[in-house]
Symmetry: C2
């Protein structure tokens, strides 16, 4: 069995060197990684083929298979993403605020790396590189535990990055892949107090549940997005159809896609047929409340469970509501606090929605699909936090750091 504590110890020790490395050294290592990924493309692709063959044997579905697959183009994109990080500001060392105490003490609130960041994620090999590069740029060591389906790809990618770290004068243990993909190892990682400073799980509800139950290290929850669009009585209906269609059909598998539309009774009769016409082009299955079914006779009855579900698919739940209050109450009950939108021409209702809806991102007259690190101007992102502590919404480099108060005196006592 893997000695997970030993992995923790190695990462902690490497984290001290990375944390003290200058931006130049870290950027040099990122460039070395980007170059090595291109140079090792053939090897990485041949290892990836083993994973694909294994997945096919297990009868994995097409969407999953697509996420697992690497190509020359994808490796180039991943490498370009690493290079892009070298152009971003290093968050470590930024002085957030400063004050001089009346007695002359200077107090600086300074951003510093977290230390060791662990990630548990499922079968997308690009996450292995993205996560490692973000951690490195922000001065952290990382422990990566990917899924068994991508293990050959992940080993090839991690070894490539570790060799590049060494060539750039940084310890290879700043990036450690846990090759043992057993559940015990994952649980062990969740409980590495004293070694892991932050754990970021990236995956479905099952993984998040297990982390909540087992983790004793600090955690940031990411990803589950049961997003709503509320179409107000005053909405511009053409705009509402366009936003709904965009939020549902451009990429239904992602967490910022919409899952339920709430429609004000006063405009349901005119809005719903328009919406259906647009969504039909993508064969979106509509699951409606009884009132919806009276307007859209082909819709399927929605169950209570449907309103709780992140379909990640061409399925949309529909409910007619009598007021903005009813819409806000529905959202409060079923939401995962990710992204929520209102389409309205009423100033008052826009302000009420912004104030009263509790979510990482609240939208007025725009698609929920914008909740994303690059769209928000952060460059890369390591995930989208749906919790309130430390990070909320897209997490970039800054969210991978903490602070330290540096206090400089000349003998002051209290």
């Amino acid at each position: 069995m893997t000695d997970i504590k030993e992995i923790g110890r190695r990462a902690k020790s490497a984290s001290k060197e990375v944390s003290n490395a200058s931006t130049d050294v870290k950027d040099g290592a990122l460039r070395a990684i980007a170059k090595a990924l291109i140079e090792n493309t053939d090897h990485i692709l041949s290892e990836n083929e083993k994973d694909i063959a294994g997945a096919r044997e297990k009868g994995i579905n097409q969407a999953m298979l697509d996420r697992l697959t690497l190509t020359e183009k994808r490796i180039t994109d991943i490498s370009d993403g690493v290079i892009k990080l070298t152009m971003m500001q290093d968050p470590a060392g930024i002085i957030e605020s400063e004050m001089t105490h009346p007695n002359g003490l200077r107090i600086y609130k300074t951003r510093v790396p977290m230390g060791v960041i662990a990630m548990i994620f499922e079968a997308r090999p690009n996450v292995t590189v993205d996560a490692a590069a973000l951690c490195l740029k922000s001065g952290n060591a990382c422990i990566l535990r990917g899924g068994s389906e991508a293990i050959h790809s992940n080993i090839a990618l991690a070894n490539t990055m570790r060799a590049a770290l060494q060539s750039a004068g940084l310890p290879p243990d700043a990036i450690i892949l846990v090759e043992d993909t057993s559940r015990e190892t994952a649980t062990g990682l969740m409980q590495l107090r004293g070694y892991v400073d932050l754990l970021i799980p990236r995956g479905g509800a099952g993984l998040i549940q297990s982390v909540m139950k087992n983790a004793t290290v600090p955690v940031i929850e990411t990803g589950v997005g049961n997003c709503h669009i509320y179409v107000d009585a005053s909405a511009n209906l053409a705009m509402a159809v366009n936003i709904l269609d965009n939020a549902k059909t451009t990429r239904p598998s992602v967490c910022n896609a919409v899952e339920t539309v709430l429609v004000h009774r006063d405009i349901a009769q005119s809005f719903l047929p328009l919406a259906k016409k647009a969504l039909d082009a993508h064969h979106v299955e509509l699951r409606g409340c009884p009132e919806t079914l009276r307007i859209l006779r082909e819709a399927i009855p929605a169950t209570e469970e449907d309103y709780y579900t992140e379909f990640n698919d061409y399925i949309l739940a529909v409910r007619i509501v009598g007021s903005i209050d009813e819409a806000i109450t529905h959202i409060a009950k079923y939401s995962t606090f990710h992204s929520e939108a209102i389409v309205t021409e009423s100033y008052e209702n826009s302000q009420r929605f912004i104030k009263e809806v509790d979510a990482a991102a609240v939208y007025v007259n725009a698609s929920t699909r914008f909740t994303d690190g690059s769209e928000f101007g952060f460059g890369a992102e390591i995930g989208i936090s749906t919790q309130k502590l430390h990070a909320r919404g897209p997490m970039g480099l800054q969210e991978l750091t903490t602070w330290k108060y540096v206090v400089m005196g000349e003998g002051q006592v209290r």
Copy 2:
């Protein structure tokens, strides 16, 4: 048995009103609370006497008894503290950053209240008011679970505050005291997912352990401070004695007091007798490493356990080290990441200490006793975080808030 879920539900419902209340309304409620505390002084003191009588019966020690005792003066001070909060900036609503997307979307990162903040704390009735007032000012509802020793005082204080809230037009359930002080209720509170947005335990290592083991809601660890002062070979010895004496003897029971001094071998012979002379005035018990004992023959041998201990008393552990590296390694091993100081005249060593020591606050040539909300200019504080997530060091109003991205468009889609 107390229905802790029902308490969670009530607090969550009240939190929505408080969260939407204007700064004026919240400040009005704080003024009403401050006034009511003064008006109810007699009642509060007579309830406090019951707690004191109970504590005496149980044979509680003098320091604990002192922390438990309220006086007219102390109530006035508590009331003044509440008034002081009305003069501070409301963190809720502050726009931290903003950007305009190339497509014209405006994205605002806005500070918003957490929602419901729970606190579990031990016998200091002033914490009941301080915590409630900080939560109210920042737009949060709070659930307070104090210790059984202070239960009569806490009920009197909470009822006073609840009546004041009502008179100011806010729901009394914005401040709920859990009157049932059983362990089950505390555990229930730690697991109120969906109701409690943040739990802050304030107490000894036992409480923190229990929270780490049982909590499923987000937690900020506070308080345990095993702080060190390292006296470098280049230190100004008079300054070092003064800082050490201040950090040990001005208030040994607090978390920013020093517990271990690390002394460079080159100056140990001259420094230790000077330090002993100063500390003798407060009868500080010295527990030293074997080399220390050869210099200070009256000192007691230090055990390995001593270096891990937050004495909270007139006791100081002493170890002689051969280099700054040895000092940094010692601190990394035994520290609780609270406050760590170096006394040095070497620029290089000051920079190494600042960079390499992992703690909420690192000091050069100053006493560790400055790690405190008012000393750092935050006004009041709700605790001192020793974790890296969300808050590190003294926690003021800002740390009781989270963010929300407000995105305003005119129909933008992706």
